[in-house]
């Protein structure tokens, strides 16, 4: 097997505001879009012919992935004009695939070893994963390593095996995809017609991003695999503990304390006296002013953080300008996403380009829409739509 089709056309509505201007597959995890980890895992297994089905905000995918040369792969882009489902997305790739190929979602983290194990199974096959709480996924019933059926988001799960959305197919699949919109339905139809679909259990990590705070768990998982690497300038009196990666052109000023795993991008200006705790990712061109401390958070490109801020379990998207003494401390919070109410430990989720005045306090679980402006000394809570003005 030498080819993979990656489905990268999805929007990810539950991840708003982060997916208003970018597709789910380009959410930044440890300084790189999720999709790039999928491509890297494939390249490590010698799969270098990659078909990317793009749609929603496809330009962002082009900008990050380009022709694929930086990953040592060659990319063919296929556009899914209307987002009707995974089977419809796969159907767009008809005519450009080889006889056997993998299909993967572009927004899940999957280890290279898991792909290697799965490649040993001949098509048609689906990669499944054992999880504790399967009801939010497609639950797979398996007998003698053969799939019996797949039930999407069941009220009651018949097993704790879920569909990872990773498949091995032959071109035969194109005879079935056009009748349905989603791949699990296609598989159920094939099973009904007597086609055996093999199930292979994933032993390694497989992580999905569904809710905004999932970005933090993915980030932590990836950070643990990034080795220390010091580019830029580390001034005297800086303490670096654990695995800390610092990009070129970045300055970390005196008396700062950085405890890995931490990744800091290129061209940042950090400190003096800044505390960065595990597991934090900081993008390119970021300024963090004195006496701020940041823990278990993802900070996007071009963000500026003023003096004396405390940021925990938070995602600050690119281009936010935060003045001094912003408090975004983590605690248990009930957060509404669509119709769901989730109970999570989380700080603040800030969309891109937000501007916060001095001494803004974020109630745990606040989700702030893109380009919002908050005046000094305000308490923000709940969910603020894009371009909110808090006066």
């Amino acid at each position: 097997m030498k080819q993979a089709v990656i489905l990268a056309a999805g929007e990810g509505q539950r991840l708003r505001p982060f997916t208003v201007t970018k597709p789910k597959v380009t959410l930044s995890i440890a300084g790189k879009p999720i999709l790039s980890y999928v491509i890297e895992s494939l390249a490590q297994n010698g799969i270098r012919n990659i078909v990317l089905v793009v749609g929603y905000r496809k330009e962002q995918v082009f900008d990050y992935i380009g022709s694929g040369e930086q990953f040592g792969v060659s990319i063919t882009y296929i556009t899914q004009e209307r987002r009707l489902g995974t089977a419809h997305a796969l159907a767009q790739a008809k005519g450009v695939t080889e006889n056997e190929f993998l299909v993967l979602p572009g927004d899940n983290l999957i280890e290279a070893d898991t792909i290697a194990q799965f490649m040993a199974v001949k098509p048609n096959a689906v990669l499944v994963k054992r999880v504790d709480n399967p009801v939010r996924y497609g639950v797979v019933t398996i007998r003698n390593k053969i799939v019996q059926d797949i039930v999407e988001k069941p009220e009651e799960a018949k097993s704790n095996m879920i569909n990872t959305g990773v498949y091995a197919f032959t071109t035969e699949i194109f005879n079935f995809v056009e009748a349905e919109l989603d791949i699990p339905h296609v598989l159920n139809n094939m099973i009904a017609q007597g086609y055996p679909i093999k199930a292979q259990e994933a032993s390694g990590a497989w992580l999905d991003v569904v809710y905004p705070w999932d970005i933090l768990s993915l980030n932590e998982a990836v950070l643990h695999q990034i080795p220390a690497n010091l580019g830029g300038t580390i001034e005297t009196g800086v303490s670096l503990k654990g695995e800390v990666a610092v990009g070129k052109g970045t300055v970390i000023r005196s008396n700062s304390y950085v405890a890995g795993p931490v990744v800091i991008g290129n061209g940042c200006d950090i400190g003096p006296s800044v505390c960065i705790l595990p597991a934090t990712s900081i993008g390119d061109n970021v300024v963090i002013s004195p006496f701020s401390n940041i823990e278990n958070s993802v900070i996007g490109n071009d963000v500026s953080i003023g003096p004396g801020c405390s940021i925990q379990d938070s995602v600050i998207d690119k281009g936010c300008v935060i003045k001094g003494h912003f408090m975004a401390l983590s605690d248990q919070a009930e957060v509404r996403v669509g119709d769901e109410h989730c109970l999570v430990n989380v700080g603040a989720m800030l969309g891109e380009g937000c501007s916060l005045g001095n001494s803004v306090v974020a109630q745990p679980g606040v989700i702030v829409g893109n380009y919002s402006q908050v005046q000094a000394l305000k308490l923000i809570s709940g969910r603020l739509p894009d371009r909110s003005l808090v006066f």
Partner: protein, 593 residues
């Protein structure tokens, strides 16, 4: 401009030559051709695109050959005028870029000596001169021929029975690509990047003998080793990566270009240029010189330099400057050229140097002619720009100019820090423009049916109006004019009617009130007004259509506004079905005066 390629090695030359020629298409051309040597020389050429040539071409067997894309100067586009050109016996083939000033005289002499010419080109004298001087050594014959010629050239020469290529340059670009048991010659790096990333840049008057296994450079009468540079950008960057056009891809690369430039320059302890030296020579004024889009960067540079450095700054068009009587000593001259090969700009640098000025060149091409003759160089980090219409290179020039002026200025540290913060926000502000193209494409659909469009701006956004008009005219072929808004009433008003939409660039600075007045004046002439502005209710009321851009410090508004106008030009050209990446009559790098 014309493009040259050459190949010598163990593979068949024809597919490599054609492929390399395709990668030079961005330079603009009207005809093309190749010559391949085996026992004799076979030439195939025509006034067609490379793909058409490829279709019509039968197999030319041979592992050594040259190719050419021609942009007509002496003699119109036709099969006979296309290169390569041959001598009387058809044993010598030459591809040439440049202009030979004394070709009429040489041609007459050669005709008197019995040589037979078939084309109207200046180039055709070269193979005949080489034929005349050939006495067993091709390189000696080439050297003798060049001795007779006055003008500019980059040439590559192929001769039947000689297992080598001879190349030479003067005032025109030429590089050697160093491969493994094969070597390449090209006008520009992208032509050969698919085959090798090791490149030797040639100097003026170099003569080079290239075999599959060696590159011998003859410089100032002695043989030197050409230093091979490793090219860090890749073919990937020279491909479209999902986008329909290079121009759109390059527009979308701008946030990254700004960020890369900032990372490269703002965070280093090393000064951008040796400013102390500039101060030591007692610089009393600045001169910014450029052509085309780079000139608009220079005009914006003038505004910010006068604002922040408080010394007089002249911004001049290089082709005009070359006819001025005098230059100023004690001037810090900043010369801006994307390609580093713009003929007028190079000539201006030479004049400035002769006058004793310190010359700082801002260019995007490492090893280009400008980078070699200027006193100091700042490279923009835009990467290769393929689309003829400059976009990301302009942005990179602006960021470099802003940072240069900011570091040279004596404004207090707090203001500088605050400006730097604004500069750091720019990638994201530009990305916001790119993420919200709905309104821009709506306006583009509206404007695409007009044949005349005016752009007006004031202050630091006047050059943006010029640039917006230039982008529109070069890729959509709509007649577009950029004016200082206050100048409209001194003439252009006579042209305004409901057939002439006016695009008004409104900045939230001290020009705001005056722009509002100008818009009302234009409306009174029934011209449709399209405003480009930050969110503003007063503008919403008077303009017919509004393109909203993100809020930025007005000093940095040219960057954000320019991106919106680039997209507008792109979508209008797309609406009109134009050849966006290679507009008619235009070339990427203008290497003739």
């Amino acid at each position: 401009m014309c493009g040259i390629v050459g190949y010598i090695g163990e593979r068949q030359a024809q597919p490599i030559l054609l492929n390399s020629l395709k990668r030079l298409e961005y330079r603009g051309y009207d005809s093309c051709g190749i010559a391949v040597s085996n026992s004799g020389i076979e030439v195939y050429k025509d006034a067609v695109r490379v793909v058409e040539l490829e279709k019509a071409l039968s197999w030319l067997d041979g592992t050594v050959g040259i190719g050419h894309t021609r942009w007509a100067t002496h003699g119109g586009p036709s099969r006979v005028n296309a290169h390569p050109h041959c001598d009387c016996a058809g044993n010598i083939a030459v591809a040439h870029n440049g202009i030979i000033n004394n070709f009429q005289l040489l041609r007459q002499q050669l005709i008197n000596e019995g040589h037979i010419f078939v084309s109207e080109t200046d180039t055709e004298i070269i193979p005949h001169l080489i034929e005349k001087y050939y006495q067993g050594s091709l390189e000696d014959a080439v050297e003798a021929a060049l001795g007779d010629m006055e003008g500019s050239y980059a040439i590559t020469v192929l001769m039947a029975g000689e297992p080598k290529l001879v190349a030479a340059r003067k005032d025109n670009p030429l590089i050697i690509g160093v491969g493994d048991r094969e070597n390449f010659i090209a006008s520009d790096v992208p032509a050969i990047l698919e085959y090798t990333n090791r490149v030797i840049y040639l100097e003026d008057n170099d003569i080079v003998v290239v075999t599959p296994y060696s590159v011998k450079v003859k410089r100032d009468g002695t043989e030197v080793d050409g230093e091979a540079h490793k090219i860090l950008w890749s073919v990937e960057q020279a491909q479209k990566g999902g986008y329909e056009h290079f121009m759109l891809k390059e527009i979308h690369e701008q946030p990254k270009v700004i960020r890369d430039t900032l990372v490269e320059y703002t965070q280093t302890a090393e000064p951008l240029v040796d400013l102390e030296m500039m101060r030591d020579i007692g610089v009393e004024s600045m001169l910014m010189l450029a052509c085309g889009t780079s000139y608009h960067a220079a005009l914006i540079g003038k505004y910010i330099a006068e604002e922040l450095v408080s010394i007089p700054v002249r911004a001049e068009l290089a082709p005009e400057f070359n006819y001025y009587g005098q230059t100023l000593a004690k001037t810090m001259a900043i010369v801006i050229t994307q390609s580093g090969e713009t003929a007028d700009t190079l000539k201006a640098i030479k004049r400035l140097k002769e006058a004793g000025c310190q010359v700082l060149a801002i260019t995007n091409v490492v090893g280009s002619s400008a980078s070699r003759i200027a006193d100091q160089i700042i490279y923009t980090r835009a990467g290769p720009e393929i689309s003829v219409a400059a976009t990301k290179s302009f942005m990179a020039q602006l960021v470099v100019l802003y940072w240069l002026v900011m570091s040279y200025s004596k404004v207090d540290a707090r203001r500088l820090a605050s400006m730097l913060l604004d500069l750091r926000q720019l990638p994201n502000k530009v990305q916001q423009v790119l993420d919200n193209t709905g309104k821009i494409s709506e306006v583009a659909k509206y404007l695409a049916r007009y044949e005349d469009v005016f752009f007006i701006g004031r202050g630091i956004n006047f050059p943006v109006a010029l640039e917006g008009a230039l982008k529109l005219k070069e890729i959509s072929y709509i007649h577009a004019e950029g004016y200082a808004a206050g100048e409209l009433k001194h003439g252009p008003f006579a042209l305004l009617s409901d057939d002439t939409p006016v695009i008004a660039i409104v900045a939230q600075d001290n020009t705001y009130e005056a722009m509002l007045t100008n818009i009302k004046e234009v409306k009174a002439r029934r011209s449709p007004v399209i405003a480009l502005t930050e969110e503003d209710e007063a503008i919403d009321e008077i303009a017919d259509l509004v393109i909203t851009v993100p809020q930025v410090n007005a000093v940095f508004s040219p960057m954000v506004n320019t991106v919106a106008l680039q997209l507008l030009a792109y979508y209008i050209a797309k609406e009109r079905d134009c050849s966006i990446d290679t507009p008619r009559n235009l070339a990427k790098s203008v290497t003739v005066e």
